[in-house]
């Protein structure tokens, strides 16, 4: 599903690369945690996959597409195959929870009839059936987080990326969210979660890719967050 070969990303005006010669292979249907402290390159990892940014060096394949050499007009098609829960959520402030989720379906040209049945269904799955008509600023952090997951998942993409989905949530809510992602994974969706939340990583015992200063320092099946540091 995801293949990174020798990927290096150096941002302009930085001399140290955010990602440094990274090789990662993620198979279809896997559940992977990308872990590491702040600034270790987790978000860069995610942004590269949806081609928000391009690598300085290396090759990236996502769902069979050559991301680096993808033509600009094909970029929307790539993104429609990837559900993404952004670190800053990126909910549309002028749209209600329902409209935010529906938007992901509008974009791929689903007919109104399908949208009207699918969007509420997914919102129900994340437990927001009573908040469908609330605007993002009327929702709590955890609720916004769940709208974001619902939007990422509503068109059943083969790949779901989540960047710090449990950031600033309390532990109980965090575990609820992760088990939601786990359930989505069981439907066959490949799930990649970037996080520095030790507790959830340790509780799930999934594959762990650990980043440190832009380098992959550990890639372990059924892993844990790692040593105390």
């Amino acid at each position: 599903m995801i293949k990174m070969k020798g990927v290096t990303k150096t941002y302009e005006q930085h001399n140290k690369p955010a990602l440094d010669n990274v090789d990662v292979d993620i198979e279809k249907g896997e559940f992977v945690f990308v872990v590491g402290p702040s600034g270790s390159g987790k978000t860069t990892f995610i942004r590269l996959l949806i081609r928000e940014i391009l690598p300085t060096k290396g090759e990236i394949f996502v769902a069979g597409q050559d991301v680096v050499h993808l033509r600009l007009r094909r970029v929307p098609l790539l993104r429609r195959n990837i559900g993404c829960v952004f670190q800053d959520l990126k909910l549309l402030p002028n749209k209600t929870a329902y409209e935010n989720v529906a938007f992901a379906l509008e974009v791929i040209g689903r007919p109104e009839r399908v949208i009207r049945s699918q969007a509420p269904e997914v919102l129900k799955l994340v437990g927001l059936e009573k908040k469908m008509n609330s605007y993002p600023d009327e929702l709590s952090g955890g609720e916004q987080q769940r709208v974001s997951i619902a939007r990422a998942f509503v068109n059943r993409p083969p790949l779901l990326l989540a960047d710090e989905p449990t950031g600033n949530l309390d532990p109980a809510t965090s575990l609820g969210l992760i088990s939601l992602l786990d359930r989505i994974n069981r439907t066959g969706t490949t799930v990649v979660v970037a996080t520095h939340d030790r507790e959830i990583v340790d509780s799930m015992r999934k594959r762990v890719v650990a980043l440190e200063e832009g380098k992959v320092v550990r890639d372990q099946l059924r892993g844990v967050y790692g040593h105390e540091d």
Binding site: R79, R80, C84, K90, N94, A104, E106, V107, I108, E112
Partner: protein, 297 residues
């Protein structure tokens, strides 16, 4: 991807409503600038018709020799009529000339008494299709056997044409500057409105929207803003025409300039049509131009 006009129209209407502060800014900018352009155009039309009327007063008067034979006069007159530049030739006999003079000197009968017989020559009054040709025609006419002297207001006519030329060019240049300034103003307002929503645009792109999917609602919103703005502008112009243009033309009557009402009315409605079109087109193009930068996500 299927084109979904109703979805796009719905999105445009919704965001027009939800971003109402920016909508009002854009609408009022369009309304004000188009109103000013409209007022200027009306003023320019009016001024132009005043100029035209002044210019049309230019004519050539050929005074005839008292000794000229009627056939000679007739053949000169026929020749003149055959010239393409000539609109009308009117023969004024000695008697008619005297009548006119009497009319003009009504208040001073002593002037007429001092006159013995009829010293006034007969003449041909030649009006032209294009007043600018007056000088060349006068030259061409010179030297006919029947003609004693040719007058066309030498010196004065040239000055009049210089003045009207300056006024016309100044009008064109000013109109151009005005349109340019309006365009910049409107596009900048739309740019601000879209800048305020740049994150929204980026989010749409990141969830997989194509450029056109993002663009259409913005374009329709721009058209809507442009249409409402131009409708406000033409509404104001119409009220001004109805309630005050009449009194303005009354004012010009003092200058003894008969204004051409039906033509002016026709041009007025044409102007209103162009303003609506301009509003819609500027709204749409402004949105496309302003969006360009933020679509690069």
């Amino acid at each position: 991807m299927k084109i979904r006009p109703f979805y796009f129209i719905g999105e445009a209407l919704a965001s027009f409503r939800k971003n109402w502060v920016m909508s009002i800014a854009a609408v009022s900018t369009v309304a004000l600038t188009l109103f000013i352009i409209g007022m200027f155009t009306i003023a320019a039309f009016t001024l132009n018709s005043v100029i035209k009327i002044q210019e049309s007063k230019v004519e050539i008067v050929a005074f005839l020799k008292d000794s000229a034979k009627p056939e000679e006069v007739q053949s000169t007159q026929n020749e003149l009529i055959s010239w393409p530049e000539v609109a009308k030739v009117k023969y004024i006999s000695k008697e008619q000339a005297l009548e006119r003079l009497k009319e003009e000197l009504k208040g001073q009968p002593e002037m007429l008494e001092a006159m013995s017989g009829n010293p006034l020559p007969a003449s041909l009054e030649i009006s032209l299709k294009d007043p600018q040709t007056v000088k060349t025609l006068a030259k061409r006419l010179d030297g006919r056997a029947a003609i004693e002297e040719i007058k066309y207001g030498e010196g004065v006519v040239e000055k009049l044409f210089v003045v009207t030329k300056v006024i016309r060019w100044a009008g064109v240049i000013f109109a151009f500057l005005l349109c340019f300034a309006s365009l910049v103003l409107i596009v900048n307002t739309i740019r601000l409105a879209i800048f305020a929503r740049r994150k929204e645009v980026a989010i749409m792109k990141l969830v997989g929207a194509s450029n056109w999917f993002v663009r259409w609602p913005f374009i329709l919103e721009g058209v809507l803003q442009g249409l409402i703005g131009s409708l406000l502008a033409i509404g104001a112009l119409y009220l001004i025409k109805v309630f005050s243009l009449e009194s303005v033309t009354q004012f010009f009557r003092w200058l003894r300039v008969p204004l051409n009402y039906p033509q002016l009315t026709h041009q007025f409605y044409l102007l209103l049509g162009y303003l609506i079109l301009a509003g819609a087109v500027i709204g749409a193009l402004g949105s496309v131009v302003a969006l360009r930068r933020y679509l690069r996500v």
